[in-house]
Structure formats: structure tokens, C-alpha cells
């Protein structure tokens, strides 16, 4: 198989229009969007809603947040990294009915997620290496210190801390894992390795960098969670300096500073892949790896620019952030809330791309690009309005802007997850017709 011959399924499906709207647009898009919202709400109720009469109430908050993020990264692994060859066959992706395929892929992806969380992390890494990766180990360690004594960790918080560590890994992975398929178009292995070896290679490389970054960006945060600070295993203190390395930059010791800018990067990857249609960088640079590098750097600068611009905007609206303050007055909340806006916009971007065929396409590329971005922002505003206005009734959240234990991005990511399942696994069925079933493809 040469590199020219290898075209990932999603790229093939979209470029050859192998799925088409069942009705004319925007009718199909509106129905599909409304359906996605309803599916997200119903599944949220049974899985996450903290006020649900029947349900798992996983939104504790971090325990559910962790599943939310890991489902996202497992979807990316399946569709982008492994191109439907992770415990599945590419041929099935091209020939099975979307319903059958979607159900199978969803089950496999959830299985991979549970395996990763409970075997790779909890059973092996957490129980043999790092306690904050294992629910059981951290609970046991926390109980070594009697309750009422600084250092004791309750079972509830042991689970929350482990969830936090796991979701932080997922946050970095969801930025890096799609980078090779999207920016570098599987370079340097495209055409040289076959799936699933190609996917496994990308997985290993991106997870290597994920863990590397985790220990730089997140591990110091984990070291602060315990009493006393874990100064021998995390760099938190020297005779000259106190705090995490980003303290001077960010004004907070909290790792959410890093989570926030990583989320900005992650979302920008998907703006780039969806409504930007990899423009403008893929037009300007045509040869890999320069195309990938320039795209990566370009989107990074864009993400950081918007990140700081939004942060400044919050400062002008809410006043100067204050060292040591909580909620809207504090740095940590401001950073995280910036990231939450990126997620709201992502909801808009993916909805436009998945259900409205990336409308518009009739004007010049720059005009289309600008219009889509405007629509993305409007979609993000709509999602924010939905979350803050209707969330207390529909999601079981508490009224108000800045509950420290509430993360709007959990809902945002859940909606994105539903979009990914519908589009990547179910081929937008039944709102789109699978033409590939009518016309067999090789």
C-alpha cells in the first residue's frame, strides 16, 4: 500500500459524499442538531445529572468529568488514529449499516475506555507505581492518616483526585493524538505502515509525549493535593522558590492553568479540521512535514492569542483577577472559563460541520471561512445560553455563573461526544443516507 492509496475512512466518506442528507438543508441539519441535543440530554440525565431520580449521578463532579474526557479521546483513537481498525475492521466501516456499525463501535470504544481507566491506569500504573492513578490505592493511602488529621483523604476525594489525574492525561492526549493525523496527515508513517500498526505507532508516540507533558504540566499540581506537599516527587520548592513552575506566569499554583490553554489548543485542532477545512495553512504549504509544522505552530499561536484575548476580556468585564481569590475573582476560574468558551465554540463548529455540511461553500474560500467562524461563535453563544439558562432545569446544575465544583465544559464535551458518536460511528444515520451501501467501494 503506497501513501497515495491510503485515505482514511472519514476523509474518503466526506470527499466522495458517501453520506448525504436525507432531506434538503437546513432541514436535515436542524433535525439532526435537535436530535443530538435530545440524545445528549437523555444520556446526561441517566449518566451524569446529579439530581436524577434514576441514574448513575456520575457528575460528582470529577468522576463523571473523567469519563467524559476519556470517551472523547477513545473516539479520537478509534476514528482518527486507528481509522476504525481498533478491534474493528476498516472494511466493516465501509460496508456495515450505520446502525449496526455505530452500535458496535460505541460498545468497543466504551470497552477501550474502561480498559484504559481500570486496567492500564488503575490496576497496573496506579497499584504498582503512582497512587493517584488508582482509586483503590489512593483510598487506602488516604486512610493511613486518621480522619480529623491533616493528610487524611476521604474515599470520596480519593476518587475525585484519581479522576482529576486521569482527566488531565486525557486532556493532553486529546490535543496530541489528533495532531499527527490532522496536521501531519499520518506523516512520517503514511504509506509505510498499515493499520492498525499505523494507529498503534501514532498512539505510542503521542502517548509518550502525553505522559512527558503530563509530568511537566500536571504532576506538580497533583503533588500539592496532599499534606504536606510532595516535594520529593514533584518540583514544588527550592530554597529560592516556592510553588509550581507556572506560578509566576499564571498567578496560581493550580494546574487548571495548563488544562485551560491545552483545551484552547485542542479545540483549535478541531476548528482547523472541521470548519476551517485545514485552511489557510494547507493551501500555503503543500509538503509534509512543513505543512504539519506550520499548521501546528499557526493554530497554536491562534489558540494562545485568543486565549489571552479572552482572559483580558474577562478582566475588563469582571475586574482584575485577584491572587488567591476563588470563583470569578480568581485566576484559576478565569483560565478554566476561557477554556470553557473554546468548548462552547467547538459545539458550534462541529454542529455546523457535521450536520450542515460545513455551510457555506458557495463563496470564495476566505469568505466561507469567515462566515463559518461567525456561525461558530454564534453557536457557542447559543450553547452557553442553553447551559446557563436551562442547565438548572435540564442538567441538574445549580443556578449561577461560577460554582467551583461545576464545569460547563463537562456538558460541552458530552454534547461533542454525542456529535462524534453520531457522525463518526453512525454516519449521521438516520438523518443522512449511507450512499456507500448503495455503491460498494473498494
Amino acid at each position: 500500500m503506497s501513501h497515495e492509496e491510503y485515505v482514511p475512512w472519514l476523509e474518503k466518506r466526506n470527499s466522495e459524499r458517501l453520506i448525504v442528507p436525507r432531506w434538503r438543508q437546513p432541514i436535515t441539519g436542524i433535525i439532526a442538531t435537535a436530535s443530538a441535543l435530545i440524545i445528549a440530554l437523555v444520556t446526561w440525565y441517566f449518566l451524569f445529572n446529579p439530581q436524577a431520580k434514576i441514574g448513575l449521578r456520575l457528575y460528582t463532579p470529577l468522576y463523571g468529568y473523567m469519563y467524559d474526557r476519556w470517551l472523547l479521546i477513545c473516539c479520537i483513537w478509534m476514528a482518527y488514529v486507528f481509522d476504525y481498525t481498533l478491534l474493528f475492521k476498516r472494511k466493516w466501516a465501509e460496508t456495515w449499516h450505520p446502525l449496526k456499525k455505530g452500535l458496535a463501535l460505541t460498545l468497543i470504544t466504551v470497552g477501550v475506555m474502561l480498559f484504559t481507566i481500570y486496567v492500564v491506569f488503575d490496576l497496573i500504573l496506579g497499584r504498582l507505581g503512582i497512587p493517584y492513578f488508582s482509586f483503590k490505592t489512593l483510598k487506602e493511602v488516604g486512610e493511613l492518616v486518621p480522619t480529623g488529621t491533616p493528610g487524611h483523604i476521604t474515599e470520596f476525594y480519593a476518587r475525585e483526585y484519581v479522576s482529576l489525574a486521569l482527566l488531565m492525561v486525557a486532556a493532553i492526549a486529546s490535543w496530541l493524538s489528533p495532531a499527527i493525523p490532522v496536521y501531519f496527515e499520518y506523516w512520517p508513517w503514511r504509506g509505510k505502515l498499515k493499520q492498525p500498526v499505523l494507529g498503534a505507532t501514532i498512539l505510542l508516540v503521542t502517548m509518550f509525549f502525553t505522559f512527558y507533558l503530563f509530568f511537566v504540566l500536571m504532576h506538580p499540581h497533583m503533588g500539592i493535593l496532599y499534606v504536606p506537599w510532595q516535594v520529593f516527587t514533584a518540583k514544588l520548592m527550592t530554597p529560592e522558590e516556592i510553588g509550581t513552575w507556572w506560578y509566576e506566569i499564571a498567578g496560581t499554583l493550580h494546574g487548571n492553568f495548563n488544562v485551560a490553554w491545552i483545551m484552547a489548543m485542542t479545540c483549535t485542532v478541531w476548528y482547523f479540521e472541521s470548519i476551517w477545512e485545514r485552511q489557510p495553512f494547507f493551501t500555503v504549504i503543500r509538503k509534509q512535514p512543513w505543512r504539519g509544522l506550520v499548521s501546528f505552530i499557526g493554530t497554536t499561536l491562534f489558540a494562545l492569542g485568543v486565549f489571552w484575548a479572552l482572559f483580558a476580556l474577562f478582566g475588563t468585564v469582571l475586574g482584575a483577577p485577584t491572587e488567591g481569590a476563588f470563583r470569578r475573582a480568581g485566576y484559576m476560574w478565569r483560565y478554566l472559563h476561557v477554556a470553557e468558551w473554546f468548548i462552547f465554540w467547538l459545539c458550534g463548529a462541529l454542529t455546523l460541520s457535521f450536520f450542515f455540511d460545513n455551510w457555506p461553500k458557495k463563496w470564495s474560500t476566505p469568505v466561507n471561512w469567515v462566515v463559518r467562524n461567525v456561525l461558530m461563535v454564534l453557536g457557542g453563544l447559543a450553547m452557553a445560553w442553553f447551559y446557563y439558562e436551562l442547565g438548572p432545569k435540564l442538567l441538574g446544575t445549580t443556578m449561577g455563573l461560577d460554582q467551583p465544583e461545576q464545569y460547563p465544559m463537562v456538558w460541552g464535551i458530552w454534547y461533542v461526544n454525542i456529535l462524534l458518536l453520531m457522525n463518526w460511528f453512525f454516519d449521521n444515520w438516520p438523518f443522512y443516507k449511507p450512499r456507500y451501501l448503495e455503491k460498494p467501494t473498494s
Binding site: 457528575y59 476521604t154 506523516w187 494547507f282 509538503k287 505543512r291 476563588f326 445549580t398 449561577g400
Partner: protein, 463 residues
């Protein structure tokens, strides 16, 4: 269809890696190099306020009950089983019997896990005026009745016409003579559900409440039979018949009496609760004291609010102290932003920290270590540690008003505070803030730092 790269030579690969590393390095330099200046330049500086609400001459706070729950593991297990921190408090089946370390009338060490939070505040002035009010009314009705009956009603310097011998419970029974009004900070279980114990003796008490409370909580005031809600203790058999003043406008100070104003912070809070009212008391010639239920908005936010709203408040100027729950590590949990708080708090120059309840042992331990002026207690009536003002402990301004010795043990470490302030200095955001802080720190305007223990005339002999 995208154009894909061709085969890659080793040379190209190497060049790419070098270019990537260089650009990554450049990007990170841009990122870290520009971040701080951007932060400093774009956001607006703090403003200073002009609001005045009078002053009292003297203040005494009696911690009636700060033990809202007795065994944290049990409390958190109840929350975990119910679905976590965002679950509706009225839906949680709290542990009410057989808890080892809990409390019951029959056995002070076994029983219900629930206690409650309430404090008695007395204010003298201006002139002959004497005001006595309760902050919150606790949770477990039996515990509340018990603890009210265990703590003597303060009598030192109380005007004769208001003097009542007996316990806090006798003050409540005395109606208006005993208690002028009650401020409810927020609708959380441990601050609000114990109303029946008060209302059965004093149903027409004057109430100040957050206007943001959920419907269930409003309904409780009018009487709710046992068993209506899934959660135990969420009942009230004695409807409130007195005046109710809802604090409805967020972040607008509302004066209740001379020297006492309340501010509503409209914020979402765990266990599906909304809004907290924060009382601020101004002591003449000394400054402002926050007297709080849980400080869910965050103590720094509240002190910043004081700087931006009240006249003549700044770092180290007219910030006298804080009392009450600070909601930092109530569940024996921790997070780096809580360390942010401990590192930043010294610069406000509070003269005393009477933190208890949901402040958490971990936080108080760190505050003591950081040299903050923590007032200790006696660890009695189920308060487990002497690290802070516990059940039955008092703190007064001036301290001669105290009817019991003050535990200064942890206050002594305050001398370390200035070095902590120095560490916090680079993290002040805006250049104007730094200037304001340096003025205070260097002993220039607005306040001259004369000694390590300044502003308030504490019992320095005892210190």
C-alpha cells in the same frame, strides 16, 4: 482531498525535528515572556470605595456551634452515595443514627453525625446602643437545643436591661430582649435547617435572608412536616411569623444598623444552594470584620469587595479581622488554589483570623504555618482541636470583653507574616496594586506600620 507528503529522508526528518524544536522553543518563550506583561497591562486596576455604614465601639463574637458534622468520613460518604457535591441537599439521606464519633442526647460520642453552625454576635455603640444577633441557626434540632443550653449567655458589659442570666437558649426564649434579629447566611443544611429549635421559642424573630434561596428553603420557614423531604432534619413544625427581609440585590451593601451591613453574593454553591449573605461589621478606629457562615464567595473576594466598596479600606488598612467558616478545606480535601489563598491572605493585613467550621483543619494548619494571626480555642463541646475558635469560645474587640482566656498560642507565629507578604508581592496583578501594597509594606501612606502587631490594640501582654 489533501496533498500528502512523500517519502522522508533522514535529512528532512532531522531538519523537521530541529525546526519544530526551534519553533516550539520560540512559542514557549513568547508564551511565558508575554504572559505576565499582558496580564499586568490589559486588566484594569482596582478601585477604592466610598460607602460608609457607621461603626460600633466594641464587638464580641461567641462561637455557639461550629461543628456542623462530627465525622467527616461519614459526611462525605453520605454525599458520595447520593451522587456527589452537586446533589440537592434535600435529597440526601444523611446519617442520623449509630455514628461512632457522632452525638445523641443519650451518648455524646455515638449517634447522629449532624450538628450545626451558629454564632452570637454582640455590638456596643454608637452611644449606649447594644445589639445582639444570631448568625444562622444550625442543623440537627436536638443538637442545637443541647448546644444552646450548654453555653452561658454572655453578661460582661451587657446593659442591665438586656442582661439575661442562663444559657444562649434563655436568650432565645427571651425573644426580642434576648436577640434583636437573626441573619441567615445561606440555606445550607448546617446553617439553616435547625430553625425549629429557635422558632418554637421565638417564632416572630426578625430575619435577614439571602433573596436567592431555593423554593424548598423558603417553604421551610412556613412550616414543613417531618418526612416531607427525603433528607432528615429538613422539617420545621413552628412557622416563622416575624418580619423577613430578603437581601436581593447582589453586591450592594445593605445597612442593618450602625456598623453592620450585609452583602449578598449571588453565587452557585455545592449541594444545590444559591447565594450567601456576608455580614460586615465596622469597629470604630479599627476597621472592618467579616462575620461569615461559610464564606462561599471566598474570603479574598470578600476582602477585595471591602476595599472596592467601603471607604478607607486597603491592604493593611482598616481590615481588622475575619470570623467564621471560610470554606477552604471543609472536607479534608485540598487543591492548589487553596494554597494560592494562604499565600495571598497575609497582604490584607488582618489583625485576627477567627476561622473555624468549614475552614478546615488543613487550612488552619497552613495558616498557622504561614504566620497568619490565628486565634485558637479550647477544643470543648465536640470541637476536636485547639487550632481555632471552637464551640463555646469567644473573641472580642477589645479583648478585655472576653469572658474567658483567649488562646494566643497560634497567634504568636504571626511574626513570620512579613516574610510571607514579601513572597506574595510579585504575584500582585496590576502595577497600581503593587504600588498600593508597597506603600503599606514600607510604612508609608496609607498606614504606618509601627510594630508587628499594629492597628488593633490587642492584649499584647498575653501575646
Amino acid at each position: 482531498m489533501h496533498v500528502h507528503g512523500g517519502g522522508v529522508s533522514r535529512r528532512t526528518l532531522l531538519k523537521s525535528i530541529i525546526a519544530g524544536a526551534a519553533m516550539g522553543y520560540f512559542g514557549s518563550m513568547v508564551f511565558s515572556g508575554l504572559a505576565t506583561p499582558i496580564r499586568e497591562r490589559i486588566i484594569p486596576p482596582r478601585t477604592h470605595g466610598s460607602y460608609e455604614f457607621g461603626a460600633v465601639d466594641k464587638l464580641r463574637i461567641t462561637a455557639i456551634s461550629e461543628t456542623s458534622w462530627f465525622v467527616n468520613d461519614v459526611f462525605m460518604d453520605d454525599i458520595k452515595k447520593a451522587g456527589g457535591l452537586l446533589t440537592n441537599q434535600y435529597e440526601i439521606p444523611w446519617s442520623v443514627t449509630g455514628v461512632i464519633g457522632g452525638w445523641s442526647k443519650e451518648n455524646p460520642d455515638v449517634g447522629s453525625n449532624e450538628g450545626g453552625y451558629t454564632a452570637l454576635i454582640e455590638m456596643w455603640g454608637p452611644g449606649d446602643k447594644y445589639t445582639r444577633w444570631l448568625l444562622d441557626w444550625g442543623w440537627n434540632q436536638e443538637w442545637m437545643e443541647y448546644i444552646y443550653s450548654q453555653i452561658p449567655a454572655p453578661t460582661k458589659d451587657v446593659p442591665d436591661e438586656r442582661k439575661i442570666k442562663g444559657s444562649i437558649l434563655d436568650l432565645i426564649k427571651a425573644g426580642k430582649k434576648g436577640i434583636d434579629f437573626i441573619i441567615i447566611s445561606h440555606e445550607h443544611i448546617d446553617h439553616y435547617w435547625g430553625m425549629d429549635t429557635v422558632l418554637k421559642y421565638y417564632p416572630n424573630t426578625e430575619l435577614w435572608l439571602p433573596g436567592t434561596m431555593y423554593a424548598e428553603s423558603r417553604k421551610l420557614l412556613d412550616g414543613v412536616p417531618k418526612g416531607t423531604f427525603k433528607a432528615p432534619y429538613a422539617w420545621n413544625e413552628h412557622p416563622h411569623t416575624g418580619p423577613r427581609y430578603w437581601v436581593t440585590e447582589p453586591l450592594k451593601p445593605q445597612k442593618i444598623t450602625d456598623g453592620l451591613a450585609v452583602v449578598l453574593y449571588d453565587i452557585p454553591i455545592i449541594l444545590r444552594v444559591r447565594g450567601e449573605v456576608i455580614p460586615y461589621v465596622w469597629v470604630k478606629d479599627k476597621g472592618v470584620v467579616t462575620i461569615t457562615g461559610c464564606t462561599h464567595p471566598g474570603i479574598i473576594y470578600e476582602l477585595e469587595y471591602a476595599i472596592r466598596t467601603f471607604k478607607d479600606v486597603d491592604y493593611g488598612k482598616n481590615i481588622l479581622g475575619v470570623y467564621g467558616g471560610l470554606h477552604i478545606s471543609p472536607f479534608e480535601e485540598w487543591d492548589p488554589d487553596k494554597d494560592d489563598l494562604v499565600l495571598a491572605l497575609p497582604k490584607y493585613g488582618a489583625e485576627f483570623i477567627g476561622a473555624n467550621h468549614c475552614t478546615g483543619y488543613i487550612t488552619v494548619g497552613k495558616m498557622i504555618e504561614a504566620g497568619l494571626p490565628v486565634i485558637g480555642g479550647r477544643a470543648q463541646l465536640k470541637t476536636k482541636k485547639t487550632w481555632y475558635l471552637g464551640n463555646g469560645d469567644q473573641f472580642s474587640v477589645p479583648t478585655e470583653l472576653n469572658e474567658q482566656p483567649i488562646n494566643w498560642e497560634y497567634y504568636k507565629t504571626r511574626k513570620k507574616v512579613l516574610s510571607q507578604i514579601e513572597k506574595a508581592l510579585p504575584n500582585l496583578v496590576h502595577p497600581d496594586d503593587k504600588k498600593a501594597f508597597m506603600k503599606w509594606y514600607l510604612g508609608e501612606e496609607p498606614v504606618k506600620v509601627e510594630t508587628e502587631f499594629t492597628v488593633m490594640q490587642l492584649d499584647t501582654d498575653e501575646v
